[in-house]
Symmetry: C6
Subunit: 246 residues, 6 copies
């Protein structure tokens, strides 16, 4: 299976070269663990190699996102101007209530008029096709919980997102908030739906906070299964692929 270099220092070594091409990978982490950093670092690395990337924000506005990453030595604006980095602002979506018939129509082929969830899916598909996008990042899927009160509806919307990304042919990242701060936890629907899962842990061990990455699942390729320390460096996340956490 072809590999897509991640741009995350140390991660390609854990993956044996990079993400499997054309797959949809979930990045799960607690608040502040670096999920957005991970997503943009991946897109920026692709852009430096000439691959156009698409960033879809469901939470913060693109300007905020870019501002948040100014401390890293990336030139996102330059990449955006070159057309190598596209940003879709879907942060307003969480403010809209889901229309009753909307989520069910996701799979029925009939889409209601007006901007909404289904429009976003179609927009992503169109942009990916029209702009020859190879890398997509959707950040974070967790925002959907603000729209849907019903568990089943939320599952369907989440499924729709993953299916859209899978059918796009891109190698995609989706970020998700960890629900608890523990290693022992209930698995989330997103983990089940994605081809790969990378966990960004924030562990509390003997009075210290320790950041650690774990490749929980990565279909189709052999990969390191240990839990490895990471930190924030000038170029973004840096993983120590041969160290133990404690």
């Amino acid at each position: 299976m072809d590999r897509v270099p991640t741009g995350i220092k140390g991660l390609d070594e854990l993956l044996g070269g990079g993400f499997p091409e054309g797959r949809c990978i979930l990045i799960v982490g607690s608040p502040g663990s670096g999920k957005t950093t991970f997503a943009l670092q991946y897109l920026y690395h692709g852009a430096t190699m000439g691959e156009t990337g698409l960033y879809v924000t469901l939470d913060e506005q693109p300007d905020h996102v870019k501002q948040n990453l100014l401390s890293f030595n990336w030139d996102l604006d330059a990449m955006e101007k070159k057309g190598k980095l596209l940003l879709i602002d879907a942060s307003g979506l969480r403010k809209l209530r889901a229309r009753p018939e909307e989520s069910s129509s996701v799979y029925s082929g009939e889409f209601p008029e007006g901007m909404g969830f289904s429009d976003l899916l179609r927009t992503i598909s169109k942009v990916v096709e029209g702009e020859n996008i190879r890398r997509v990042a959707l950040d974070p899927i967790t925002s959907l919980m603000l729209r849907y009160g019903d568990v089943l509806e939320r599952r369907r919307a989440t499924t729709a997102f993953f299916d859209t990304l899978a059918e796009s042919g891109c190698t995609s990242l989706v970020t998700s908030e960890l629900k608890t701060s523990l290693l022992d936890r209930r698995f989330q629907i997103e983990e089940f739906l994605s081809h790969g899962v990378v966990l960004l842990h924030t562990l509390f061990h003997e009075g210290n906070i320790v950041r650690a990455v774990q490749i929980e699942k990565m279909r189709g390729i052999p990969h390191d299964t240990q839990i490895r320390p990471y930190q924030f460096g000038p170029a973004g996340l840096e993983i120590f692929p041969r160290d133990k956490v404690f």
Copy 2:
């Protein structure tokens, strides 16, 4: 009781020869633990011995499944061409809402028109009979949770699947996602309905991730009850049947 060799290195030793013939075995594991690898390894091993196997995917499309397993030294395509490996793509089923009257009709003998859950059950039965199938793998039963909001409906659909497999005469595997990452957990309905349960654990022990297999239940045959380490090797899962996990 006759035995069916599993093809999983080390597992037959734990089972005293293989799975009990004609039974339905549940493979439970966390994301990335190798459930799909386990299922196809079992079918592929049968195919090399001349037994036709049927793989029913409720999650990924067959092409993706086969692609995911390319890193192993199996020739799935050859087996498929020889007619020794059949694949049913039921991945689309999760996108369809369950029709209100459908799940109850499972046992009533009346099936609604159109493709749906009941059709899948009948298709499996027909293929098993028509193609002289001896091994079936259904992967993963967890997808049903995307269809049913109601617990009781989900239980009935799960029961219907297990009954169909039990009545088929095949030695079947069903995979299921573990709900939590712990040894202490709530048992799931699938464990109750199956004749055997094999658990694929992902344990966190003193800073390390440890993969371990445990035969929780295997009706009708004596078997090892300890928890044993396993890893991914070139031929798929490899169990160390005489080692301790830690």
Copy 3:
């Protein structure tokens, strides 16, 4: 109080002779802990002493049950032919939806026409009386959860089962699935309704799986209250009544 020898090696020593006569004992265990083995071993032992036993299966068909126990040195078929072992197949009951008025009628004296839950209760009563049954085993009560979505209805059905067994005059066993794999757990309604409770634990201790039996409750007789190791042997379950688990 008169005692009924259990046929489980080591158990009579823990009980000071056997189960209290005429009582209803609950056997609770995790999947694969040997609940069905326990139940049939008890009935078979009675049969060898000339006592007719009745086995009611709510889960597997009788043929499967007997096949599962072939590895033990029992001749169940011979006992069945002598009329010393009767089997009622109620495994189909779990496929039927509970009729709304059915469970409430359990205590009202009016029974609806057709086969159902109430019919099973009356059948058990009739067989016990007509065949001079002394030992009954009902395996497993957990199957009722497949029929009832409502907690209160499930409680009433469970209560009806226990009352029927208590009024039969037999010394009865009822098996139940443990809900979690831990020593610390929530007690289940069945434990509350029965005269005695025997727990079959599957413990995880320092990297090992340990099987252990505990007589949690046994009204009317003094009994060992410790937790004791057990294993599967050629004659069924074997308890080590003077050993510690670890």
Copy 4:
């Protein structure tokens, strides 16, 4: 405050003489911990001193209860014949559905015709007054959960029981099933409503089961607050009031 000797060996020392007179004490324990033994031992001790006691069973029939206690050196039948021990069989109550208007009428002064929950309360009041009862035991309050699906209704019925006992002037015991097997637990409504709470623990410590009693609450009197071991002896429960559990 006047004291009522309990008849439980070692308990009066923990209580500084006995239960506070006229109060309602809750005995909470896991299955098999000896709640019924505790209740009858208390009544029997009173009877030997000439105090008439009333036992109300909400679970087992009186004959079963007495049979269960035959292993102790008490002569319950003799006390019953002397009129020093009265038994009310309310075990049938759990089989009746609560009538919708019944629980609310508990406090309204209007009671529906026919036997039911309110009748039991009035019967207890009448018997206590007419027979000059000094000790009452109600065993177990947990049976009410079989009647009421609604939490609020169950609370009201429980409250009604406690109020009836408190107004009777007797020194009363009410038994209740512990919901979990742990020291850390959620408190139950019964603990809140009673004047005193005695806990009968079944602890798991280093591979051993340890029985231990703890006076959690005893309004109006100083009392030992430690957790103390106990066992079953020929005269019933025996507490070791100066020992530690481990």
Copy 5:
């Protein structure tokens, strides 16, 4: 901020002089931890200094409450006769169902006719004003859970109580049952609504029960934040303000 001496031996040292004047303090503890003792000890101490105190019981009748405290060297009756201790018996309130419109009217200004929850609030306000009360104790707020099935309604009633006390100008205590026996727990609405929270823990440590007090919150004043042992002595609760629990 002015201080109100508590009368609890050792507590004023932890508080740097006493409770902040005019505030509402919550006393949270498990059953038997001494919440009522704490409340009356506080009022009695005020009475000995000439401050009139008001005790509102939502659980036990005043006679029972006073009887429960006879083992301490207080003369509550004398203080009551002098008019320095007033008692309002609201124990009957828990028996009344909440009227649908009642809880919402708490803030609307319209109060229904007849005795009820709103009447109690008005009575408290009137008595405080008319009798020049400086100290109030309301014991326990937990009784409200017997009245309200709905969480939101219970919150509103709880809020109404706290607001009434805050507006009274008194330094008030409210007692509340701890929901679990652990240090790690979910915070309750009462803790959020009060100006200060004192926790009375019953800890289980190496086979011993240890009683310990902790000032969790005390707005407006510096205070000790450690967890300190306490016991019951002849004058009520005694805290050891410089000791560690273990």
Copy 6:
């Protein structure tokens, strides 16, 4: 990114200079951990440097809040008189029921007549603009749970608050009650919605209570990620930015 000095001793060192300008930071802590102190200390520090601050209280009245902080060496009244500290009393809001149509209208642009939640949002926006406010503190967001019974409605109201603050251009603080006293916990919606999260822990370690601060998340700037001890001093909270908690 520009920084805003916090005024919390030791915190600027952890943040590399202060909060990121224009962002909304969540302060999460258990009862008594100093959330209000943190909020006012931040505003007061700004005021001493000439920046006007706005404090919105959703819980206590402004007079109480100021009184609570008298033990610190701040002159809040002087700052208020100079117009450098504005206070909005929204403590009454929690007493009002949410009107059914109100929360949905938050985003629809139509606001109902009368004072309510939407009015508060508009008032905050107007004051911030009209008075050239640079620092806002909203204390505590938790009060909203008293208004809304429905989870989804509460989420929407919470989201509206955060959006209003984000659009104001101010560097804002929002305080929130921690739901449990543990390091392992479920993340709350507020953590997800804010740009930064500062946790104020109250840990129990070997018999001691330890206060500790942790910067869980701070988008846009590198920051210390360890958990650090803090205490209350004469000038408010004091963090020890180079110490370990234990």
